[in-house]
Symmetry: C2
Subunit: 196 residues, 2 copies
């Protein structure tokens, strides 16, 4: 593509994500990121003002990516709470299995996000939790979900899906599709969905 550089923004982000997974944000230097992207530390600063800005780009990509996928899934799922929860959990699981490294940074490096960018990251995380919670609460209101603890149920569903990024391996025996089927069933069990 015209204007595309061989070692650009995406190479920097890929190198940073890999290193943040291995050693965390504070354990990674801008020099390490440059080395991993096969460029000089100076040329990193053509793209990002600081290591903190790189982290915020990755966090934004991870949280915004998951939110977009899950929101779109809910909207396309039709009207029933159980259909919406299935679609939501499916998208959440697929995201965490297919964007593992981004997801690990998203799940572990909130503590490292500083300054005004922090508000944006926290807002995205809260938005994601609200999407799950609204689907669960509506199911409870309509007596489709019998759980007495919708807030804890919501958190349990979110963390069950999120933890997939910590152990999922692409070369394992199960497909992402099969994994998503199973976690759909788990999510419905958590809210105590009993088909009428």
């Amino acid at each position: 593509m015209a204007g595309e550089q061989p070692n650009g923004r995406d190479d920097i982000l890929d190198s940073a994500v890999r290193l943040f997974n291995e050693r965390g944000y504070y354990g990674t230097s801008t020099r390490d990121i440059a080395k991993g992207a096969e460029m000089t530390a100076a040329s990193i600063y053509h793209h990002f003002a600081s290591k903190q800005e790189i982290l915020q780009s990755i966090m934004g990509r991870a949280l915004q990516g998951a939110l977009s996928m899950t929101r779109a899934a809910v909207i396309r799922a039709g009207g029933t709470p159980d259909g919406q929860l299935r679609a939501l959990m499916r998208a959440w699981v697929v995201f965490h299995a297919t964007h593992r490294r981004d997801a690990v940074v998203g799940a572990t490096e909130l503590r490292s996000v500083e300054g005004p960018g922090r508000d944006r990251v926290v807002a995205l995380r809260d938005e994601q939790e609200a999407l799950f919670r609204d689907v669960v609460l509506r199911g409870v209101e309509e007596s489709v979900f019998a759980t007495g603890f919708p807030y804890e149920a919501t958190r349990s569903i979110i963390s069950a899906g999120q933890s997939i990024c910590m152990w999922w391996r692409d070369d394992g025996p199960m497909s992402v599709d099969e994994l998503a089927d199973r976690y759909e069933a788990i999510a419905l069990a958590i809210v105590e969905y009993h088909p009428a």
Copy 2:
């Protein structure tokens, strides 16, 4: 107590846990740990050979602590799978709410454990997972738990409880006891326990 030093082993571990929570293992220096414990870096080496040894002590304390509490709970719970799962989840939740900082290190710093000590840490983690899995599998065998996916159910129960260390605040409106009640209900829902 005779022989107890004002700034000893426990102060070092407390300082290290606090810093590992804030900045991660790689982002924390032995000098930082010493400063937090109000001692010199040199005197740290009276107690620990390296920062890695400090990490392994904390990981061991966290994983061994959780394993001891949950094993004891299962043994005292009596014979039914649902009674065992209730006791197990209760102990797991109480541990993660009352040992938050240790638990965060235990959950996030496995990547940083190096050398032969790694085998011990991995063995403890696997032992913990096996305890949950055995209780769930036995419930399924005895048709007390109806889940079709006992492995994913096990993982979901573990991560639901584990994630409590990321958000629990001691000064919140809920007691640890009430929290444990709710997560007991969630764990039974995940395995699809239906009283006969």
